[in-house]
Symmetry: C2
Subunit: 589 residues, 2 copies
């Protein structure tokens, strides 16, 4: 993406001091991410760009239409998030901007992978177009793995090289998003190779996704093309990845806290050009109260990373990683994206400038973000099959009094990993009965294909009623955990009516619903209202027994994610993750 | 420029260890420019790329067709020169490769500015095409300022945005070369803006050239687009440029030794991502005996730069500066350009690999560089007007017995800077007589335009005879310094016959000629022969009084360079550099 002034001639005249600047920020302590220094400076802005940084005679001001006093505070470049999903905030891109800007994030590199699985190209286009005219730069990486595991699940779309080439034409598209199919990359799978080739031809950078990859497999992954990773959770892994030239995007999301481990792994390095910071998935509650990327920096600094290096990692390093020039530094010719802060350790943003205009100040949005209507936001994405209670009954093969059933068992209350158990369960009136700690689970295709599955989950955490969600990575089919088919049916009907979201049911009655009407993933509510509703929903789910230490709403969302070992459910049935195959629910005994 | 394997599938299989590698380098001490570490490693190569770097179990070798033992030596990435002119070596691109490879340079970013001034687009095309199939990557920046000062000199060509767009299509073109017209950039001159726009549209990086630029002018230059500079000679300037985000290409050429000053200026910085090293202009003698870029690193290290940082500056930093991926590191997926060296301080190359093949070993070329014929090399570029002795006589205005003459005076024996003096000189038989330390100078257009000038130079150094050169930056017109018109004429005829070069004349007789038949700038001789001939030529010139401390051949080559203050001669007359205007030789008194 080209970042350039509309009127370069005027920018030059202002730089030379021949013409009045649009804005001057006198009396700043400039954090210079290129040299690592901090020194006094006055910063001049014109046409949305830094025209001049005065350091020889700070205080002797040249004319400017506006003046915003630095008052001796630190001036850092606007923060750049190297990898994140707006959908994880459950907010629309415009409402996400309203809250992220308060924290000094002026550029995000986001992967609209979730909505792509629901609405395909149109979903990516909507996420891209929503950023038009925003006082924040929302750069887009094109989802590379839609669906995540072809053949084992049905999403709302399927991306090949054709879709990549089509979407690469959009103005703010810069990369190919997290190439999760590492197996396809390292083994040169033709579909994956074509997707990578298409991205390279279009000049996109290749964002990686390589959890726990090491040694020769990591080498092959790099030879395949992707050269970044935000999935590093172990110190040794961080160092190993950096040594082979990979960009390590240290992540601190609402779910995965990896910054400490990454920093521990690389802190003794001499160079950190390839270290960046990212938020990946942050819910509205965290965004409001902890912050966005500034919270990630704060964490890094608390782990011992020097604040200047933290700022560098979240600005110029990221700009270089994604191959976008003119962002990431407060220097002449750079977009005037800047943050004033009193404290380089906490990094609360006193004032945030985007393209030279005040966007937020002391936690209050100052830029105007007008409401815009998008047809996609009005549409109900739910295309369920006709359903009856019978659809949610797990019937045993004819004539059996007991059956051997493959059960998906969560390894703990707070992990999304599972084991595949084979359990002997009694049959009553032809129906498989549940054993201890078990519940039924059903995944219903919501894209009009009519596919659905019923199985059994153990150690999920639910103790009564039912919970259901249309946020269900990565295909986002309707996923329901329940004891009684009537509750499952009620949940399905409720979410069908509401256009998606999360619901909790007991005795056939809806207890609470968090409506996510935009693609079944996002709401048009703003952060404050959403947080209020989500908090209520969390309480409802806890009351039904989902007492996970973190966010109970997230317990169900990875139940159908067939890239997390050992088994997961999809709309096609039970999926064995390692060999990407479907397993029959009943074993052949 | 895309750098990618022909057979990616095979590279992946080798990376995974499923197939035999082409080459293994066991027992290396790998210098990792990304993290700044040095550790033992075995390096596997396939398809010209690094397939795998084994660090977990070094020594336990996997199969490979060839083996080259590291013997515990340091393995560094092949060196990348961020800015240079092949023409300065006076060798053809292919012969330049023969010597640069011996020293571990595997990639150069060169600016065929000189030949562009002679042959225009065709000259650039020749320089580009000459690199085809070489065991070295000769990347091209398109000359931005042909001629250097339009209106004050005539070169063999004139480049506008059209030529830039045309040349940008060539495979190995990566940038727009040193944008010397800083005045045009900062004042938004339409021609310069169009050239920059063309380069940006074509995805080229913008190489700068900003000697002594500072403060608001430097800011404007950066806002104008170019973001690198190899013309930094003062410590404070180096720091100032780096602070505003400029890449500083520290130069150590045969003429300009700036590495020490640059390092002194920036050595206290914390980050050095934007520091690179370059050779700019190196003559064959230096190339043979001192080295190429390794000599620049050696100098930097002797000034206190840590060797690992020096290697980083001359590899990955440069790759990022020029926006070329997959070169500059020894890591999976990178081109297998590597150097083995026993000593990280002297950096003499024991073995040099280009794309995984041994190119040079212990100062001997190992790769085959076949002879190739280029029509341009056979052509005589000299298109002088018909000349007689009279053309070299400086005649006074009619009827004068003495005249006030503007004289170009060199400020010292070893500087190319001049002052403009006005001297009163006697006239004899209508001819202006020379004063003390003076000689006549004539610049004759050699591109068929018929323009020529005669003037007076002081403190040049010549004490008898004449010297002449078709190497005469940047227009490379025939430049002659002499006392007697007959010597000037003899010199012109000699160089016309030989197709260009440098010659020395006394009493109408040719003393010695260094033939440079390729565009009047380069010879087809190899480094050893050229050095021998150039050494003889230097002795001849010294005998004529040119006793400069450095290379006497270079005394004349900047006489007609109208970008070095205060005045210079061109084929159109005396040029005032500051205001880019022609000055009459005789003042109006």
């Amino acid at each position: 993406m080209k970042i350039e002034p509309k009127n370069k001639q005027r920018l030059l005249r202002v730089a030379l001091g021949e013409e009045e600047a649009d804005l001057v920020l006198p009396d700043c302590q400039l954090v210079t991410v290129v040299t690592g220094e901090i020194y006094p400076a006055d910063v001049y802005v014109a046409e949305g760009f830094i025209a001049h940084v005065e350091t020889e005679r700070p205080g002797e001001l040249s004319p400017a239409r506006e003046r915003y006093d630095g008052k001796g505070r630190y001036l850092i470049p606007g923060l750049i998030d190297s990898h994140m999903h707006i959908e994880s905030s459950m907010m629309t891109p415009r409402n996400f901007a309203r809250v992220a800007l308060l924290h000094g994030t002026t550029t995000i590199v986001h992967d609209p992978h979730e909505l792509a699985n629901v609405y395909g190209v149109e979903g990516v286009q909507y996420m891209h177009d929503s950023a038009e005219g925003l006082p924040m730069r929302q750069l887009v990486d094109i989802p590379s793995c839609v669906p995540a595991v072809p053949g084992c699940e049905n999403a709302g779309a399927s991306f090949s090289a054709k879709e990549i080439r089509e979407l690469a034409r959009l103005e703010r598209v810069v990369g190919l998003a997290e190439v999760m199919d590492f197996y396809g990359v390292i083994h040169g799978d033709p579909r994956m190779m074509e997707i990578i080739r298409a991205a390279e031809d279009c000049g996109l950078y290749l964002q990686g996704h390589a959890p726990a990859l090491r040694g020769r497999q990591l080498s092959a992954y790099l030879c395949g093309g992707p050269f970044t990773c935000h999935e590093t959770t172990v110190s040794g892994e961080a160092l190993a990845k950096m040594r082979v030239g990979m960009y390590v995007d240290a992540r601190e999301s609402s779910i995965s806290k990896n910054v400490e481990a990454v920093w521990e792994g690389v802190k003794n390095n001499r160079f950190f050009d390839t270290l960046t910071l990212c938020s990946d998935d942050r819910e509205s509650d965290d965004l409001l109260h902890e912050g966005h990327l500034n919270a990630v920096l704060r964490k890094a600094i608390s782990c011992g990373m020097d604040p200047v290096l933290a700022v560098k990692s979240a600005t110029i390093n990221t700009a270089r990683e994604i191959g976008v020039a003119h962002i990431g530094a407060v220097a002449p010719g750079y977009s005037a994206d800047m943050v004033l802060t009193k404290d380089l350790r906490s990094l609360w943003a006193d004032a945030v400038f985007f393209e030279g205009r005040l966007a937020a100040e002391n936690g209050v949005l100052k830029a105007e973000i007008p409401e815009r209507h998008f047809a996609l936001e009005e549409r109900n994405s739910m295309r369920l099959p006709e359903l009856t209670e019978e659809n949610f009954v797990l019937r045993a093969p004819e004539g059996k009094e007991q059956v051997e059933v493959r059960v998906m068992e969560y390894i703990s209350k707070d992990s999304s990993r599972t084991r595949c158990l084979t359990e002997t369960l009694p049959v009553k009136d032809g129906v498989v009965c549940l054993g201890e700690d078990m519940a039924y689970v059903s995944v219903v295709n919501r894209y009009g294909l009519g596919t659905r599955s019923v199985g059994i989950v153990k150690n999920f955490g639910l103790s009564e009623g039912a919970v259901a969600s249309t946020v269900s990575h990565d295909s986002h089919n309707l996923t329901i955990v329940y004891f009684h088919p009537q509750d499952a049916l009620a949940a399905a009907r409720e979410l069908e009516k509401k256009g998606g979201g999360m619901t909790a049911v007991k005795d056939g009655r809806i207890l609470n619903t968090l409506r996510l009407e935009v693609g079944g993933l996002m709401t048009r509510l703003k952060a404050e209202e959403l947080t209020r509703e989500a908090t209520q929903m969390k309480e409802t789910e806890r009351a039904l027994g989902i007492t996970v230490p973190t966010n109970p709403l997230l317990r169900i969302v990875s139940l159908a994610l067939p890239v997390i070992p050992e088994v997961k459910m999809s709309d096609l049935g039970l999926v064995s993750v390692a060999d990407q195959k479907l397993l029959p629910i009943f074993t052949e005994k």
